[in-house]
């Protein structure tokens, strides 16, 4: 990839053990999943834009296809785009560069991990073309997921493959960060992104096996006649929900933390500033999130008939998340203070992320309070809340990452004009889409409903949301096309266009060749990736 004259060789890419190529393969796979899941999102918005079946002849068909779109949109976005996009692509490509390592600790395991990821993507996509596609939402609650005529197995195998890929990645990167840092690099000199990846992988490693076990029991129940979750034979319906959210709430932080890590990099670089209160953000914020992440899952089950004392106990622990997340927010916003801020395209995405983070984070507070959730649960309000924080915020940070490191990965500069047009379409579009959903959610619009004939007053709002979604769609098409066109024909970029002080910019060429660094990296005692003041 370093010279133009080199011929493109597919098998070299497939059998590569180079962390950078693996990172790019993760990016391509996750963007593929993102695109297909995005099409589902548009279909969902169009179906909801008018009362009655919009894209189907009758109610039954409308319900069935709508549920399949919802399933695919949710499962693909979370499992195949957000988690692999943030921990697979970004961590694979940039983490070794940031710590001055030539590669990861186990390059072959890394290659196996990306194969499993691709297998997972294929099974996920197959799940949509087979007859009787899964229609169980990304949560797959039994008994419905057991009784349905849909092929729950595709869901289970997608989780298995992507989960296993993620576990391999987690082991690999934890070992890499612990043992392969450049000589002289202490714990307090790591990039924020490196810390965020480490904490995310700790969560992933501990909790993924629980999800894998839960969905495996689902598989046994559906196809092999066991009764793990069958209440008539001693099974426990609620236990699946507990096991599922025991993983899937921490999974939210697996997405949130690396997304914040990317924002720290972008905000620090374009403010030419040091991180405000680095230690509090890392040890209090990130590790605080890891500590609390395992004790809050019941806030997903406030309306599920759990014992009262658990609901109240976990309301308190859920509210306490505001402590570490507050520290992270103060540190991130504080990095702007007395900076020298420029608004290049990655920074535009990062700044928009600050506001998405505020809206998404703060709307989580009413949902944390049990009594308020008794109304808000499973309404459009919750739908808009997690789309702000998990969907858009995390997606925009992936986009910030791609633009920020675009010169690093391709050696070329992106097209700023089209990129900016895409950005504004995206940013305006998401707000037009999801702001109405907050409103109608509080007014009682249930989630996962294509039909709302009993609430005709919501039709206008759904129509506006659909227009917003079309804006986002055009913005996304422009953005992704811009990447492809710029990667092929973009102007050559200088080696460190943002004048960053981080190792991946200062010590490698664009793009880095095999082995990453031309000579061994050593860092001084007082070096940090953010020492712009010197």
């Amino acid at each position: 990839m370093s010279k133009k004259s080199e011929k493109f060789n597919l098998s070299e890419w497939i059998f590569t053990t180079d962390h950078k190529r693996i990172g790019v393969m993760y990016l391509i796979g996750s963007i593929a999943a993102f695109s297909v899941a995005g099409v589902m999102a548009i279909l969902i918005r169009i179906e909801q834009s008018s009362l009655g079946p919009t894209l189907a002849a009758d109610a039954m068909t409308a319900g069935q296809q709508y549920n399949q779109w919802l399933y695919f949109h949710g499962a693909a976005m979370i499992l195949a785009f957000l988690i692999p996009g943030l921990t697979g692509f970004a961590a694979n490509y940039f983490l070794p560069l940031m710590i001055g390592a030539a590669d990861v600790a186990f390059p072959r395991i890394n290659a196996l991990s990306v194969w499993l990821f691709w297998a997972g993507i294929i099974v996920a996509l197959l799940g949509f073309v087979i007859p009787d596609a899964p229609d169980i939402m990304w949560t797959g609650y039994p008994p419905y997921s057991i009784l349905t005529g849909g092929n729950t197995a595709f869901y289970v195998f997608t989780v298995h493959l992507l989960g296993f890929a993620s576990i391999l990645g987690a082991v690999n990167f934890l070992v890499t960060v612990i043992y392969m840092r450049a000589p002289g690099m202490g714990w307090n000199q790591l990039n924020m992104f490196v810390w965020s990846t480490v904490t995310a992988f700790v969560i992933q490693l501990v909790f993924v096996p629980v999800l894998a076990a839960a969905v495996t029991m689902l598989l046994f129940d559906k196809y092999l006649g066991t009764h793990f979750f069958d209440p008539s034979a001693g099974g426990d319906v609620l236990l699946y929900q507990n096991l599922f959210w025991f993983y899937s709430h921490p999974a939210v932080y697996v997405i949130l933390l690396p997304a914040l890590g990317i924002l720290y990099e972008v905000v620090a670089t374009f403010s030419k500033n040091r991180i405000f209160n680095y230690k509090a953000a890392v040890y209090g914020g990130m590790w605080g999130v890891v500590l609390i992440s395992g004790e809050v899952w019941v806030h997903h089950l406030y309306v599920s008939g759990m014992p009262d004392w658990i609901r109240i106990g976990q309301m308190i622990s859920t509210l306490l998340i505001s402590l570490p997340v507050g520290l992270l927010a103060i540190s991130l916003f504080g990095t702007l203070y007395k900076g020298a801020i420029t608004f290049e395209l990655p920074m535009k995405y990062a700044v928009s992320c600050l506001f998405l983070f505020l809206i998404g984070g703060l709307t989580g507070i009413p949902l944390a309070i049990t009594a308020l959730d008794l109304h808000l649960s499973d309404t459009s309000f919750i739908h808009a809340h997690f789309h702000y924080i998990m969907g858009i915020f995390a997606t925009f940070s992936v986009f910030a990452a791609v633009y920020y490191w675009f010169p690093k990965m391709t050696g070329k500069m992106y097209n700023d004009k089209w990129g900016t047009i895409g950005f504004w379409l995206n940013f305006i579009g998401v707000n037009v889409t999801f702001m109405p959903l907050f409103k109608i959610g509080v007014d009682g619009m249930p989630r996962r409903y294509w039909n709302y004939e009993m609430f005709p007053q919501f039709e206008t709002w759904h129509y506006i949301a659909m227009l917003g979604a079309l804006l986002v769609a055009s913005g996304m098409i422009i953005t992704i096309l811009n990447w492809i066109m710029s990667a092929m024909n973009g102007k050559k970029s200088v080696d460190n266009p943002w004048k960053s002080k981080s190792l991946e910019w200062t010590h490698t060429v664009n793009p880095p060749g095999p082995g990453n660094f031309l000579k061994d990296v050593k860092v001084a005692d007082d070096w940090t990736p953010y020492d712009y003041g010197k």
């Binding site: 008994p143 595709f154 082991v171 490693l205 096996p209 629980v210």
Partner: protein, 274 residues
């Protein structure tokens, strides 16, 4: 790789064709071999027993069902006179409760035996109690009573799903030997059948009837309660297997975290010494 993939996809399709059936609330049969006594648990779980129902207890005192609120209650429908054979259900309950060690009668729960025989009086209660011979400590916690208004018997038994009939030729009542567990606010939380259950099920049902209300020093009991779930098909508590599987998976996750880090350190140290 290709074979593995083919096998994998094949497996999915084969699995996709297996039919599934589920049947919740499997209907239970009583120990007397007759469908007549079958309690449709689905229809009666959660029903609140009439709190205003007036009773007369063994001492002739008047009281109401509502007086028992605040603690779980074991409700037993029975009769006190021994025309042909005496009701065995109370004796069975006594045996069962003697073996339940972590829940204490009086302290954690109470027992109420009500008569469904309209001929029973305070006198027949006294007779019956002397026959049963309760330990002195239990006297206060186990109340025997008749309904103040015997006309209400049918309505009240029906409300709890309990059926019975008198067989003149045998001079005996036919009825299910069942213990009905009520929550502190008087709602039916479980049916425990005398013949198919042991003290473990009784203990778990008593714990369940407390609805998560437990003291700090009873955390172990609560955790034990989590390890079981009620099996409608078998009519008893069975192990809550997914919980163990989940815990095992969490253990695997944690050991992956520690072992991967520590094992590599060993490997690295070895490389360093060579």
């Amino acid at each position: 790789m290709r074979h593995i993939l083919a096998f994998f996809i094949g497996t999915i399709f084969i699995l996709g064709t297996v039919p599934v059936e589920a049947n919740y609330f499997r209907q239970r049969e009583s120990d007397v071999d007759s469908n007549v006594f079958r309690i449709l648990e689905k229809d009666f779980m959660g029903v609140q027993f009439d709190q205003d129902l007036e009773l007369i207890d063994q001492n002739g005192a008047q009281l109401k069902v509502g007086d028992f609120a605040g603690k779980p209650l074991v409700l037993v429908w029975s009769y006190y006179s021994c025309d042909g054979s005496c009701s065995a259900v109370n004796a069975e309950l006594k045996l069962l409760l003697e073996q339940v060690d972590r829940q204490t009668i009086g302290e954690n729960y109470r027992v109420l035996t009500l008569s469904f025989d309209k001929n029973d009086t305070v006198e027949t209660i006294k007779e019956f109690r002397s026959f049963l011979q309760l330990p002195p400590k239990w006297e206060k916690a186990w109340t025997f009573a008749v309904l103040k208004d015997p006309q209400k018997i049918e309505e009240m038994t029906k409300k709890t799903g309990f059926k019975f009939f008198w067989a003149p030729q045998d001079k005996t009542f036919y009825h299910p030997n069942v213990f009905i567990l009520l929550s502190p606010d008087g709602r039916i939380t479980r049916y425990i059948y005398a013949l198919t259950n042991n003290e473990k099920d009784m203990g778990l049902a008593l714990l369940e009837a407390r609805k998560g209300d437990f003291k700090v020093n009873e955390v172990i009991d609560f955790v034990v309660g989590l390890c079981y779930s009620y099996n409608y098909k078998e009519g008893r508590y069975t192990y809550n297997i997914p919980l163990y599987v989940g815990l095992g998976a969490l253990f695997i996750g944690l050991s992956l975290l520690f072992s991967s880090v520590l094992l590599f350190r060993k490997k690295k140290l070895k490389e360093g010494t060579q």
